[in-house]
C-alpha cells in the first residue's frame, strides 16, 4: 500500500485516515472513533474530539442523496493542526439527523470527516466533493471500495477531472 500522504487542493488524505467497514453502534460512536484516530494521527488537537461531537448535536450533518445518505461532521478551525479528510465506510448504516432539518433522519453509509484549518478555505475541494457525490455511480463506487487503497484511488479520481 502507498503510505504516502496525498494532498488534494491542500486537503491531506492518507490510508491511516480511512476506515473500511467501521463498526459503530451509532452516529456518535462513528464520529468519536474517527475523531480519536485523527487526534492520534496529529491532524487535530485532542479538543477536536468533544468539539466535533458537540457540533454534531447542535448542527447535525446528515445529507440525503438520491439513493443513500452521507454525513460530513466538522467543527471550528481552532481544533485543527492541518487540513485533512477522513473517510469511513460503515459496516452497517447508522442514523444521523439531517442537516438543517431537525425532524428528518438520514441512513448514513459513508462518513466524510472534514478537518478544515482555514475558514472559507478549500473552496475548490468542498465544491468538487459535493458536486461529485451527487453522482449516484461515483458515490456507489466509493461506498463499495473494499480496501483502503481502492478507496483512496476512487476518492482521488473524483478530483481528476477538475484538476
Amino acid at each position: 500500500m502507498e503510505n504516502t500522504i496525498t494532498s488534494i487542493f491542500d486537503m491531506n488524505i492518507k490510508p491511516e485516515y480511512l476506515f473500511i467497514h467501521l463498526d459503530a453502534v451509532d452516529n456518535m460512536d462513528a464520529i468519536k472513533q474517527m475523531a480519536v484516530n485523527l487526534a492520534k494521527q496529529g491532524v487535530v488537537k485532542n479538543s477536536f474530539i468533544p468539539a466535533v461531537l458537540e457540533r454534531e448535536r447542535i448542527f447535525s450533518t446528515g445529507l440525503q442523496f438520491d439513493e443513500t445518505g452521507i454525513a460530513i461532521p466538522h467543527t471550528d478551525t481552532q481544533h485543527i493542526n492541518s487540513s485533512a479528510i477522513s473517510i469511513a465506510i460503515l459496516k452497517k448504516p447508522v442514523t444521523f439527523q439531517a442537516m438543517g432539518m431537525p425532524d428528518s433522519k438520514v441512513n448514513v453509509e459513508i462518513i466524510f470527516m472534514l478537518a478544515i484549518k482555514t475558514a472559507h478555505g478549500h473552496i475548490k475541494f468542498l465544491q468538487t466533493l459535493m458536486n461529485q457525490l451527487q453522482n449516484k455511480v461515483i458515490l456507489h463506487n466509493l461506498i463499495n471500495s473494499t480496501s483502503k487503497k481502492l478507496l483512496i484511488n476512487n476518492f482521488k479520481s473524483l478530483f481528476n477531472k477538475e484538476n
Binding site: T77, G100, M101, Q127, M130
Partner: protein, 93 residues
Amino acid sequence: MKKILVACGAGVCTSTAVLNKLKSILDDRGFKGKYELSQCKVAEVPAKSSGYDLCIATTTVSEVKCPFIMGIPFLTGRGLDDVIKKILKELEK
C-alpha cells in the same frame, strides 16, 4: 445591488460550498455584478441579517430579519431547481 448572506454552523464548510455554487448559478443567469455575497456563522444571523435582502443557510435559523431560504439543495442537488426559482424571485423584487 442585492445583498445575500450565506450561513452555516461553523461558517467554514457548508456555507463555502453553497456560496460558490450559488455564485456560479447566479452568474450563469446574468446576475453578475448585481449581487453581493457574505458568509457567516448561523449564530451571527440574528444580528447581521437585517442588513441583507436574502439569507440562505444550511441549518435552521431563528430570528432571521430578512427573507430566508434553506440551502441544503445546494449540497445534495435534490430540489435545487425549486430553490433557485425562489432565490431568483427574491432577487427580482
